[in-house]
């Protein structure tokens, strides 16, 4: 890692981290307050409808009929599409900076004209991305706790239960980041890289979603990283999801490593 590169990456990543982080905090606070507050009403009215139950099941990735309770609503705050969209957007913005963004902007010439190896650049960018990613997850937790303050104490989830959900959520974030790094490593156009990653994530999201309705997809649902993010199970059982975290970390780690090798070996041409 190189101190100067870390400074440069930090200066360029903090505005998007701050903006998305604040929105994420607001959304988490709203979800943490609204869903448990109206849980009785939702359970009584909405969850009796099969269609709504299916949608909830699709989002949570598990059968909800026998799990209706406070944890179901707390878990929703960690699988809600808006929450996923915000965190994944952050990963997309940060992980397409190098090399796709630098080549696309034309700044790669100046950056790589400096006495740094490509691995130096890659590691420095990754370091700042992970710091910003931790900050994103931290503000999400802050929003969640903030929303919980408006609830009665007995309605709030125990922090000890939320922590493994949060770490699992961060592993999901790194998996998405790893895939994004890999696509970016092959690309010289940031917009193209972002579009490809967006389409991949959309397909993986839909795979996980539709697998709850169409049983043949159950055979391949393991391909979706969302399959390894099941907060309702964690909140109900209190068991750390070591297996899921390992799978997500492997996806993130291996794709990131492959991205590093591709970036280190590829030709770079800004014209």
């Amino acid at each position: 890692m190189n101190r100067g590169l870390v400074r440069r990456a930090f200066y360029e990543m903090w505005p998007s981290t701050l903006l998305l982080g604040l929105v994420l905090m607001g959304v988490e606070a709203a979800l943490a307050y609204v869903l448990p507050t109206f849980s009785t009403q939702i359970s009584a009215d909405w969850l009796q409808m099969e269609f709504v139950r299916n949608i909830m099941q699709a989002m949570l990735g598990t059968d909800v009929s026998d799990r209706i309770g406070p944890h179901l609503f707390h878990a929703m705050a960690w699988v809600h599409p808006v929450v996923l969209a915000l965190t994944w957007a952050h990963a997309l913005i940060c992980c397409t900076r190098v090399p796709a963004g630098e080549v696309d902007n034309g700044t790669a010439d100046v950056l790589l004209g400096l006495p740094v190896s490509r691995w130096n650049v890659f590691l420095s960018e990754t370091f700042v991305w992970l710091i910003c990613g931790v900050a994103m997850i931290a503000v999400a937790l802050a929003g969640n706790l903030l929303g919980g303050l408006a609830l009665a104490p007995e309605q709030r989830p125990a922090l000890a239960l939320v922590v493994p959900v949060l770490i699992n959520f961060f592993c999901l974030y790194t998996a998405v980041g790893g895939i994004t790094w890999l696509i970016s490593a092959f690309s010289s156009r940031r917009g193209r890289a972002m579009t490809i990653v967006f389409l991949i994530l959309l397909v993986l999201f839909l795979l996980h979603y539709l697998a709850q309705f169409w049983s043949p997809l159950q055979n391949i649902v393991f391909l979706s990283p969302l399959h390894y993010h099941r907060p309702v199970d964690i909140l109900n059982s209190g068991v750390w999801p070591w297996g899921d975290m390992a799978v997500l970390s492997c996806i993130g780690g291996l794709t990131w490593l492959a991205a590093g090798f591709v970036f280190a070996r590829r030709d770079l041409c800004t014209v």
Binding site: G4, Y11, T107, A108, V110, L114, P115, V116, S117, N120
Partner: protein
Amino acid sequence: MSLIHLENLTRGYGRRRGVEGVSLSVAEGELFGFLGPNGAGKTTVIRVLLGFLRPSGGAARIFGKDCWRDSKAIKQDIGYLPSNLRLSSWMNGASALSIFGSVRGRDLAGPGRDLADRFDLDLRVKVRDMSLGMRQKLGLILTLAHAPRLLVLDEPTSALDPLMQRALQDLLRERAAAGHTVFFSSHSLGEVEQLCDRVAIVREGQLVANESLAALRNRAGHDVVIRWRDGTDTQSLAVPEFLRLTRREGTVWQGTLDGPAHQLVDFLAGQAVEELSIGRPDLESLFGRFYQKSGEARP
């Protein structure tokens, strides 16, 4: 000692042409001009030198090290200014110097300020608020501030006004006098002629010339006007091979002299010449012929 050494360097872009079989050496302390029309392959050579592109054939070495494998070590002592320079828009001159200094592990603020004074640039202005010329000046400051042994400048004067072009030329001459080497890529003959000792010309991906400017001047044509004394029988005089006449009226011959002027002086010695005028070597037309596409006339 040869600082840059290219041997049969080949690099293509699929179907697009890159460079093919380029061989050249640049010595330490030399002001080396690298000329060619747009798209000839100048930037491709520079990208190989900087380790952005891997050669598909041949070898590229700087300081005796391989440009692809040892790119990081080589760039410790290189200052590189790309053509079409882009800098992050949020930076200003001072923060750019601070970050670049941090990357290089040295304080560039002092030398950066000196250079900014010389180029008349306010280091507090953000890149996004800078004109093209100001950005180019900042790029030059960032390239020169660490006093590198080798400067690789890709069309560095493109956005500079004539005053700043002269300031840059003076600075580069000073650096060269101090033993630094300048690899100056351009498509403009004029600035290379003013600055460089030696030039290489690349055309359609191949090197078509690599020699000193003095040697090129000897090869270049001179505009010549000869006025014979009244009554001289000019019709009976044989025109030498090195003189291409474009006008032959009465006692006036006008044309182009190919090669050095002394051969014409030797030819005219003892002849009835009233007046002789020999113009400066016409490098422009020589380079024009170098730049012509294959199949067209060559020098």
